[in-house]
Amino acid sequence: MGTQLQALIVNMLEQGALAGFLGLGVLISFRFFRFPDLTAEGSYPLGGAVAAALLVAGIDPVLATLAAIAAGMVAGMATALIHTKLRINNIVAGIIVMTALYTVNLRVMGSANISLLSVRTLFDEATSALGLGVHSETAVTIVLTFVLLALAGAALAWFMHTDLGLAVRATGENQAMIRSLGVNTDRTKLIGLGLSNGAIALSGALVAQDNGFADIGMGIGILVTGAAAVMIGEALFGDGSIERWVIATVVGVLIYRFLVALALRVGLAPVDLKLITAALLLLALALPRLRAKPA
């Protein structure tokens, strides 16, 4: 039982840290911009696809990962442009880009799946750079990813307190007001959705490198995963400040991963996972409402 719990916790930390960027990305679109940005379903596998294709082509893992972030940002900006310039509903704009990305991802990868077992990933490089052996790679992955996640979280919190960050937040809450103060909301949406999908693509790129493969189907249901994590964090820690929101999201991702790992361990099949995710999201959505009801 002890080793089982240990395995569960290690799995939670590893998967949770990797998905932490997804949580932060969804926090931006889902909470600050207040709409479910389905671009995530395409930008997450796009991150995996770009990183994997570049790694296989012999590109440095750091560059490959940065390229994945850039690709995700472009995807988010495409959604923002479709929404702002063509005045298409933001959810529909996300669906359009998500659909287009399916083909893009297949083209980038050249097939539905790329194995990374024969190439050196970011985590391989970090492990050997530290002079550690293969058996330490999981630990290195967890530590490295948490360091990156802490940096990303701090950067996001810092950004949301700048003049531009305030304008981005206000764009999601009260567009007419922030426009009347002279902010071009087309631009803040471009920035916000770019950042959001850049973070989500980073998650995809890291997960692919950790798993040892990128797959065309890796993004299915990913928005719901991110939203569930955001809401679990919120339900437990509230949303008192930006810092608290960011930390709550990361903790929410960890808890979500723990629950998923637990569900699989008690005998549920991987095919049941999406149903579990949907149930968790429903629970996280319903919990604050049930609590708010007078007794």
Binding site: H161, T162, D163, L166, A167, A170, E173, A176, R179, L181
Partner: protein
């Protein structure tokens, strides 16, 4: 002669053109405000008061005519372009503040009005000190609550924050669109007194739409009466100082041929 801060030349707006329900919301309205003018606007239901303000603020584009602000044609300028020049408050304070953000954050956004939004920290110690000072002058105790979310404030407090936001960066023009209408009478008096102080302190050119006749008479140096999309008369100077509600109602009747009907017009103060 002081220069014209705001000039409207034959501004028109028609809704439902070509249908039986055609409404001429603005009927070739021409109007000039000199720098420092404080003009109150009153009128019957659907007179076009809010449409007039919305055309100036850029919330809707007129069908005809020209609008100049400080000698610049702004008729078709998008809202975010006029922002540096115009402060505006609506009837509902929800419209011009961000509920989930703090008082300090809302004011910081207002300080940046019309300026580039960069990566500098929005709420600095220096800005907080300035906000505290300005809030103290409001007299509602808000200087103690800089980090409170605006959504937790009462309607009057929120409208006071909105007023500070509209005036903090010294706009060329202040538009008040029935900004007291949602407040209880006592709070309305407090917020209107604050409005008067801020306008005087900043020597702001102001256009204030109200449905309260006593208020329209008491405040400002000019009063405009609107009816059916037109300015039917204007009262200023000594005549305005001596004006009473009764006189105003009679003059409206003489000019429009109808009785002043607005279910919200207050005949008494």
């Amino acid at each position: 002669m002081t220069h014209a801060m705001l000039a409207l030349h034959g501004v028109g707006k028609t809704y439902g053109a070509g249908t039986v329900d055609v409404v001429r919301a603005l009927d070739r309205v021409s109007l000039t405000l000199s720098a420092g003018d404080f003009v109150t606007v009153i009128g019957s239901n659907g007179a076009g008061k809010s449409t007039l303000l919305n055309a100036i603020a850029g919330l809707m584009l007129p069908d005809s005519g020209r609008i100049e602000l400080d000698n610049t044609d702004i008729t078709a300028a998008p809202m975010h372009r006029r922002a540096a020049l115009i402060g505006r408050i609506a009837q509902n304070p929800l419209e011009t503040t961000c509920a989930s953000m703090s008082i300090a954050e809302n004011l910081a956004m207002a300080v940046q009005r019309g300026r580039a939004h960069g990566l500098r920290r929005a709420v600095t110690a220096a800005r907080s000190a300035e906000f505290r000072e300005r809030l103290a002058a409001v007299g509602l105790g808000l200087e103690q609550r800089l980090d409170a979310r605006v959504g937790t404030l009462s309607g009057g407090q929120r409208q006071a924050v909105a007023l500070l936001m509209a005036t903090i960066s010294g706009p060329r023009l202040l538009l008040l669109d029935e900004h007291l209408a949602n407040l209880d009478p006592r709070t309305a008096t407090v917020v209107m007194a604050l409005t008067g102080r801020l306008i005087a302190a900043g020597q702001l050119t102001t256009l204030m739409v109200t449905h309260n006749m006593a208020e329209a008479i008491r405040w400002g140096n000019r009063l405009l009466m609107m009816h059916a999309g037109r300015i039917i008369f204007e009262i200023g100077g000594a005549e305005k100082s001596a004006l009473t509600v009764d006189t105003l109602v009679r003059r409206f009747h003489d000019a429009s041929g109808t009785v002043l009907i607005d279910d919200r017009v207050l005949l008494a103060s």
